[in-house]
Amino acid sequence: MIAYIVRRVLYAIPILVGVNLITFALFFVVNTPDDMARMQLGVKRVTPEAIQKWKAEHGYDKPLMFNASAAGAGRLTDTIFFQKSVRLFAFDFGNADDGRSIRHEIARRMWPSLALALPVFLVGIAVNITFSLMMAFFRGTYLDLWGVVLCVAMMSISGLFYIIGGQYLVSKLWNLVPISGYAGGLDASKFLMLPVLVGVVSGIGFGSRWYRTIFLEEMGKDYVRTARAKGLAETTVLFRHVLKNGMIPILTGAVVVIPLLFMGSLITESFFGIPGLGSYTIDAIQSQDFAIVRSMVFLGSVLYIAGLLLTDLSYTLVDPRIRLG
């Protein structure tokens, strides 16, 4: 298994280089280093000298990808792309354009993101499994039919609608919880209740339908027929056999997103005023801060690759037939 992990880690390197290259190209297609300097220095009274100074201070005074004036390997290494990318692989994110340490900000902001994402993830799985099991249990009945209709309807509604509707009903009309904001420690709970509720409800449609399909597929298998033939109660069949086997694709599907929970949600954090990594990324895009954008994309890629690796490993844990070689 160790050899497998090492091989997967090595595969990740070209993927990360590619991701970094694409991010770099996309960013600099629309923003030049001069644009970035102007954005930071303000639009008024910006002299060419001030722009040059800013670029030199922030390492943007080199050619983007190819340095024709350098010799040998310097043609590729003495460029913005190389200088900015190589440090990422050592997880040295450097400083943002405002001079603040990105590593420090990530370490500080990932906790509010996690405080929101983790309950949404766990409660969401529990609710979706309950709802989908109910639909599977009553398959072919009106309950199943209307359950599916409800799921499709809920899937069709924009996530933004859940947020705005939730804020309007729960916070503005009924005054049950604060409409937005965040506080540290246990005080966070009163601010997180609504976004967690919104996150869970907005995910019911998609999650329940998917899980229902998984459970129905399991229920058609021979071992379920055998269990029924043995005279087991339907609930026993469902909870002891179908649920256990149906959890394999559910758990492996869930494992892949676990590392990404740190990255936060762009829209939810923005609407609920949660100072997490999602809002950090949005701010960086708006202020054309390439250092942050690059770091967050890189971190997202690393966590996604880690999630995929964890998924593969989790297969071996939940299904003894699978061996990684």
């Binding site: 923003n31 001079g99 603040r100 009945t141 005054n175 937005s180 965040y182 609407f271 100072p275």
Partner: protein, 497 residues
């Protein structure tokens, strides 16, 4: 340094605007000990311990919590020297109760919390719930908060009045304008005197045709006043009387400005050599190109409105919409014909607006983006810029404004109006677009605020109970069905009769 707490700056020549520079943040004196402390190795790297994040100063408040992404908290500085509340104000201030605290020692509020709201909806709702003391008015909420009368007067809606909310308005010391590029042969008139005169007439006709009053009404909820020249209200040199009206664009009717008719504009167009929007010599239709920043479908109505204004003169307007970076590049390089720009005052002096049309600033990186050149204007500018405010300076400004009104290098767009709301428990608030030091004079009635918050935000628990009841009732058929199914005996195999 004159002594431990005093320093002097010697200026060569005369520069009256220097006092304004002294009020800007970068002129705040810094103790060298603080600078040395934060310059130590390892303070910033990985720790973010920097002077701009943990500022040092002598003002009325200390920044005790600084997280611009979430909130910033200011605590009254116990070592503050103290500052008496002003005893003099503008006319009407005493009647409005704004001088009630005259002579009292500021600051009045012990702790101020600034919270960051990225989205307008929660921000507005929290203001209505009383969790924010002050609020601006977004365009989405404007109709809910304000009614604009026929005369352009703004009043609060009954819902706002019921809550005791107060509305304050002020015209910003800003200007938003449509600029012509003087390097362009059509609108700038490069060449001989006749070409320049032709272009001048064309610019004047366009100035008449673009109905800024309509623009303000449609796109700014009436929050603005049409420009009469480069100077906004609140800046020395701006005239409120009938001399302040732009005679090129407006007639004075009953002491009020009325935009000249479109027939007048078409007549000026004909004088410019473009009767019915066609070049009199070649017969070709006149096509003009407007560069502007557009971000998406939301801008479509605004861009169509621009087209309609030019269509009044049978001019075909081609709009070259782009992003902000490319737009800046084009303006800087002079690759434009018409473009929109704006300017916010750095300091309240006419020099800070008139220099936007000063000839020597017409370079790629200069602020004269129109690249307007007029030696007479430039001479007057050089004479005016270092003068003290007074009748003599006003007279020169009048002459300068008259020149640029006639030359029309910009279509004088509009000066935006700032609207702000505050709750009944907030006192002494007076909007100022230039002064940023009024926070220490704000007074709050915390008891009233607490009472109102409690009154407005009584939780309704019945909906939660209702949701629970619906869930229980909804699961009941499922439960009954489950019970029925579990009790049903297996169907016996059918045997042939």
């Amino acid at each position: 340094m004159l002594d431990r707490y005093t320093y002097s700056i010697r200026i060569k020549g005369k520069y009256p605007q220097f006092v304004y520079w002294l009020a800007m943040p970068f002129f705040a004196p810094m103790p060298w000990e603080a600078d040395r402390f934060y310059s130590q190795r390892g303070m910033n790297e990985g720790r973010n311990l920097t002077l701009d994040w943990y500022p040092v100063g002598t003002g009325p408040y200390m920044l005790v919590e600084n997280d611009p992404n979430a909130r910033m908290v200011m605590q009254a500085n116990p070592n503050f020297r103290g500052e008496p509340f002003p005893s003099e104000g503008e006319p009407g201030d005493a009647q409005a109760g704004l001088l009630a605290d005259a002579g009292k020692r500021a600051p009045f509020v012990e702790r101020i919390v600034f919270s960051r709201e990225k989205e307008g909806i929660p921000y507005w709702n929290k203001f209505l719930q009383g969790y924010y003391d002050n609020s601006a008015i977004g365009s989405d909420n404007f109709d809910q908060a304000v009614r604009v009368g026929v005369e352009g007067d703004a009043t609060l809606t009954p819902q706002m009045q019921e809550r005791g909310i107060k509305l304050k308005t002020s015209v910003a010391t800003s200007t938003f304008y449509l600029s012509f590029n003087f390097q362009d042969p059509v609108v700038g008139g490069r060449g001989d005197e006749a070409a320049r005169e032709r272009a001048r007439k064309l610019r004047q006709a366009i100035s008449v045709a673009i109905d800024w009053e309509e623009f303000i009404s449609i796109f700014a909820n009436g929050r603005g006043i049409a420009g009469m020249g480069p100077l906004p209200p609140g800046i020395f040199g701006y005239r409120e009387d009938d001399k302040g009206f732009n005679p090129v664009v407006y007639d004075v009717v009953d002491g009020k400005p009325r935009r000249k008719s479109i027939e007048t504009a078409r007549k000026i167009m004909a004088e410019a050599g473009y009767p019915d929007g066609r070049d009199a010599k070649t017969g070709q239709p006149l096509v003009l190109y407007l560069d502007t920043v557009a971000r998406g479908p939301d801008d479509a109505s605004r861009l169509n409105w621009y087209r309609r204004q030019f269509a009044k003169l049978d001019i075909q307007l081609e709009i070259r919409a782009t992003d902000w970076n490319r737009f800046q590049e084009k303006v800087r390089a002079g690759n434009t014909q018409l473009f929109f720009l704006g300017w916010n005052a750095d300091y309240p002096d006419p020099e800070n607006f008139l220099f936007l049309l000063y000839g020597p600033n017409a370079t790629n990186d200069g602020e004269n983006k129109a690249r307007y050149q007029n030696p007479a204007f430039d001479r007057l500018f050089e004479q005016m810029r270092n003068m003290d405010n007074g009748p003599e300076r006003q007279a020169i400004i009048d002459r300068m404004v008259a020149i640029v009104r006639e030359d029309a290098p910009w279509v004088w767009g509009f000066h935006p109006k700032d609207y702000s709301l505050s709750h009944a428990w907030v006192h002494n608030g007076k909007p100022s677009t230039m002064g940023r030091n009024g926070l220490k004079f704000i007074r709050i009635d915390p008891a009233l605020r607490e009472r109102k918050r409690e009154e407005w935000n009584q939780p309704d628990l019945w909906p939660a109970g209702l949701v629970l009841a619906v869930l229980i009732l909804g699961s009941l058929p499922a439960y009954l069905s489950y019970r029925r199914r579990e009790r049903t005996a297996a169907r016996p195999a059918q045997t042939p009769a």
